[in-house]
Each structure stands twice: as C-alpha cells, then as structure tokens.
Amino acid sequence: MTIDLKTIKHISKLSRISVDEAKAEKLAGDLNSIFKFIEKLNELKTDNVEPLTSVAETTLRLRGDEVKSNNIKEEIIKNSPKENKDFFVVPKVVE
C-alpha cells in the first residue's frame, strides 16, 4: 500500500503535528519505505495466534485510591510554559 499526501495530512491532523508541503513529501517517502519493510509481516498466517500485549505474565496491580501528597499545586505548575494564579494558561478556547 502507498501512503499519499492526503494520508499524510490526515495522520498529521490526528497526531497534532503540523506539516507543510515539503515536509509532507519527505514524510511520505520515508513512511513508504518503512511500510514496505513492515509489509513482510503479511507472509505469516496469524489467524489462530493470541496477540501478546505484555511479556510480564502478571495481572496489573492496582493502587489504592489514596492521597499521597498534599498541596503540591505549585510544584505541578512550576514547569508550565505559561501560568496564572495556579492555572495553566492556553489560547482562548471559547469565544
């Protein structure tokens, strides 16, 4: 299968990465060579194979729903590129 520019634009939208024409063309080329390589998997019949989701054969441990640390609002917000009074600031969403 071939990945065309329309597909690249679609994936770009889904992954929230903007691409201009030049970048889209480069990406289409790269992705096509990678998918050609990936297509080798079609040689295998896998109808009756169970998919492997995790190599660790344990059931996922769940944590108790407990408060571990209090009043860390400041710490959490410290790394944000833009903040105001303990809030993350983003461009206007609602007009």
Binding site: L27, I34, I38, K40, T46, R63, P91
Partner: protein, 485 residues
C-alpha cells in the same frame, strides 16, 4: 593516587571502603576529566558543584557499608532527577526540571552514588547513533568520526572515555547493547519488570527497560544489584527474588548449554562478525559449556514487528507533550494551532516520523492490519524463545551486524538505520535479559560485541557466562584520549 578515573567501579568502592581514597578525590578526578572532554559532547547537563558538595558531605560522615560509597555517576538524560534538568534529548523538554526522582536513580543515591550530570541520548531514545539528539551528536571516543551508537550514546561514550565509572542507560530495542558494542563497553538489558520504569521518560512502555553500562562484567553485576528492585510505583515492576549479582558472580559455566540460532546468520553480514561469533563459540567451549544449534524461526519478523509496536506506544506516550504542562511552547492562533505548532517545532524529525507511524497503525481501519498483527507476531517471537529455552540455558549471538559507522553515514535512510538493531530487538519483544560484552576488533580497529541472551529473570546466569568469556577474550579498548588537547 593518580589515574583514579582508570579504576574500575569495584576497585574504587574497595579503595574508598579501605579509606585509601576519598569520595572528594574520586569525584574531583571524574569532574576534571569530564571538563577536558567537552568535545565528545557526552553531557547535556552537568551538576559538578553539587556533586562536589555531596562528596564532601559523604567524606565528613562516610557510610562505608553502602554499595556505592560516595561514587560519582553520570546518567542518561532520560531519567527524571529531582531539581536537575531532564530533557530526554529533546527541544520540547529543554526547560523541564522534574520535581521527583526516578526509582532507578533513587536507588543509586540511596546506595551512596552522587550525580555528576545527565548524559546525551537520542531524542526520546529514538535512534541508533545519537544523531537525533537536539543537543548535537556524541562522538565515539574510539574515533572522532564515529557514532557512539544509540540511543544511550552519551552513556556509552562517557563510560568508554572514563568520564564516569559506570552509568545507567535504557534499552527499548537495543539502546544499551548496541552502543556498548560500538564503544567496547559492557551493557546489560535486564528482564522486563526487573528495574522500575517509574520516572523514566516513556518511549515504548511494553519494551523500555533501564540497565547498567560499565567497563567490565564485575562492575555491571554490582550496578545491576543496586538498580534491580521491586517498585510499587510501577505497575509492571515484578516482585521476584533478586540475586546478590556481584557476590554470586562465578566463572564456572561448565555443563551450561548455549544455543546458537541459525537465523542470526543474516544476509550480507560482514565476515568479521561471523569470525567473531565463531571465536565466541570457541571460547564458550573452552569454558566447558556445551554449544547447541537452535532455531528461532521468526527472527526476521522481529524488526518489522518492533517498528509497529514501538511507534504505536510512542505516539500514545508522547501525546502528553502539547505545550501546556511543561517544556517548550510555540504560539498559535488557537489551542489546536498551538498544539500543532508546538509539536512540529518541539519534536525532531525522527520523533515526528515515529509518532506518525504510530498514529497511522493505531488509526481506525488500520489497527487490525498493523497493530494487532504485530502483537500476534510478537507472540510467535516469544514462543520461539520459549521453545529454545527447553533445550538451552542461554543464547550467544553477535550484538550488532557491524562495528560503529561514521557520523552522517546512515542519517538519511531510516530503514538502514533500523537494521542496526536486528540482533537486539527480538530480546525486547520477548522481555528477556541480554548482555553485550566487547569481544574483539574489526580490521579498522573498532570494537565488536557479542550478546548473551538469557531466560527471563536469569540475569545471574548471563552475567556468569559473560564473566567467564571476558577472561578468555582479554579485550583491551584502543582509546588514545585524542580529544584531550
């Protein structure tokens, strides 16, 4: 005592414990050498002043029972370190300073280790040459034109150049073992679930695993002992009985059965690699182990599987970088525009490429054909190993299909770059432990590594095999300090 930086970790620990040297002397020596080695570009962030203060504090109140008594250590910049910048080699995290500590690094400091700084790596650990780092490529101390391998390229370079006695890397598809092989050092990728992933910047969660990198097998065993712990904070951490890996290290591997998988003789593999592998087989026999021919029939499907599974998980893990909560932000005319510009400017080309692959294989209409298919093939690959381990105790293969290549040589051809990990990737897909040890040189004098793959949780066994082989091989790295003027 001069030449402190040439001492092994085990020796440094012993000398500090016997009060022959102080932590301050050792720390100073590694800082001085690191400062003279800026050309290598091994560090992204240094924390030398703090390191010296901590060394002095250690010397004033030394706790000599600790496993790493006052030992300075630089770590891959993928581990979150409290109050010390953590970038994952990316522009998008250039201003990120964690407010918490990763469990693996926490284990180091609790054992007496002292942070020297954060080592360069491929951006979000995506790369096999350290050329995708936003902070520039790292040079291999073997030769200025060579890549150190990746993604733990800064870590490998720093250990080989003796800027740190030991280090920690992470391995998703070979990111510890391939750079170890390229720099003539030892690198262990532990069993999935052996070392906590808490506080490690996530790339592909079902594959990522932290591990030690060192000058020799003893140091590797000691470091593994320190970092391999059960951790409640990581839901994939496994509670099993861990060994005292250094104490239990033994060269006696008589009667062990070592498998040689025929599928690893790949097309176009240089004769030098074939020869090295044969030498390895001879050494194993000399150590009294038995060599058994085995088959891992799905080997050639491992890389294509990896290049679906890893990007799929990466695309989901990296969704959190949106310019809101941390790091770099590009201005946009509305929220969506800001997200798109931030991610387009903040991520490098390789990361964008992998996010795109991952998004595509998980997208509606393609999930079954790609992602589900890859999970099924992953099962077949794991089954191959399970079958093999009914006959053998460990498996011996080359670590990489070639020695270190030149900077820039493979940059524009992603598939050729991916092929570097052809011998290491199956191990991550199956969740097994694998170690790369330096085993010889090619005609150009560049190091070559051999890989020993073990059963799950059987790190002691592969460390022992590596230890026995190391003695037979008698490897010496040809590093001339060319970068120190």
């Amino acid at each position: 005592m001069s030449d402190l930086t040439t001492q092994t970790l085990v020796k440094l620990c012993k000398n500090i414990k016997e009060k022959k040297i102080s932590s301050t002397e050792v720390t100073k020596a590694f800082i001085e050498r690191s400062e003279k080695s800026k050309t290598l570009n091994a560090y992204i962030t240094t924390d030398f002043e703090n390191a010296l203060t901590k060394a002095k504090q250690f010397d004033e109140k030394p706790n000599l029972d600790l496993k790493l008594p006052g030992i300075p250590i630089a770590v891959k910049d993928l581990f979150c370190t409290k109050k010390v910048k953590t970038t994952a080699g990316s522009k998008i995290l250039q201003s990120f300073t964690p407010t918490y500590e990763s469990t693996v690094t926490d284990n180091l400091w609790n054992a007496g280790g002292i942070l020297l700084g954060k080592l360069n790596c491929d951006e979000f650990a995506m790369g096999s040459s350290n050329e995708t780092s936003y902070y520039g490529n790292v040079q291999n101390p073997i030769d200025e034109n060579l890549v150190p391998g990746g993604s733990s390229g800064g870590s490998a370079s720093a250990v080989a150049a003796q800027l740190t006695p030991i280090t920690i890397g992470t391995d998703t598809g070979g990111s510890i073992r391939q750079p170890a092989s390229f720099t003539g050092t030892v690198g262990l990728k532990p069993t999935y679930g052996s070392c906590s992933r808490y506080g490690i910047v996530a790339f592909a969660s079902s594959l990522d695993q932290a591990g030690p990198m060192s000058q020799n097998v003893e140091d590797c065993a000691l470091l593994h002992e320190v970092i391999s712990t059960f951790d409640n904070k990581d839901s994939t951490s496994i509670n099993f009985k861990r060994n005292n890996y250094l104490q239990e290290l033994s060269k006696n591997i008589k009667g062990k059965k070592i498998g040689i998988p025929k599928e690893y003789r790949v097309e176009g593999m240089p004769k030098e690699i074939e020869d090295l592998w044969q030498k390895g087989i001879d050494y194993i026999k000399e150590c009294g182990a038995e060599v058994v021919d085995i088959s891992l029939p799905h080997t050639s499907y491992a890389l294509p599987t990896y290049y679906i599974v890893a990007p799929a998980e990466a695309s989901s893990n990296l969704a959190r970088y949106d310019g809101v909560k941390y790091g770099f932000r590009a201005e946009g005319k509305n929220l969506i525009d800001m997200y798109e510009k931030t991610r387009s400017e903040g991520f490098g080309a390789e990361v964008q490429r992998r996010i795109m692959i991952g998004t595509y294989v998980l997208s509606s209409g393609y999930y079954d054909a790609y992602y589900l298919k890859a999970q099924k093939v992953r099962k077949l690959i794991k089954n191959d190993f399970d079958e093999a381990y009914k006959q053998v105790d460990a498996i011996l293969t080359p670590s990489t299909p070639s020695s270190a290549f030149k900077i820039g040589e493979k940059k524009d051809d992603p598939v050729s770059m991916y092929l570097n990990d052809i011998f290491t990737v199956p191990v991550n897909l199956a969740g097994l432990p694998g170690i790369s040890i330096p085993a010889g040189h090619d005609a150009k004098g560049y190091p070559l590594g051999l890989q020993i793959i073990g059963k799950a949780f059987d790190e002691q066994n592969i460390l022992n095999i590596a230890y026995a082989m190391e003695e037979k091989i008698g490897f010496k790295n040809n590093i001339t300090d060319w970068w120190i003027k």
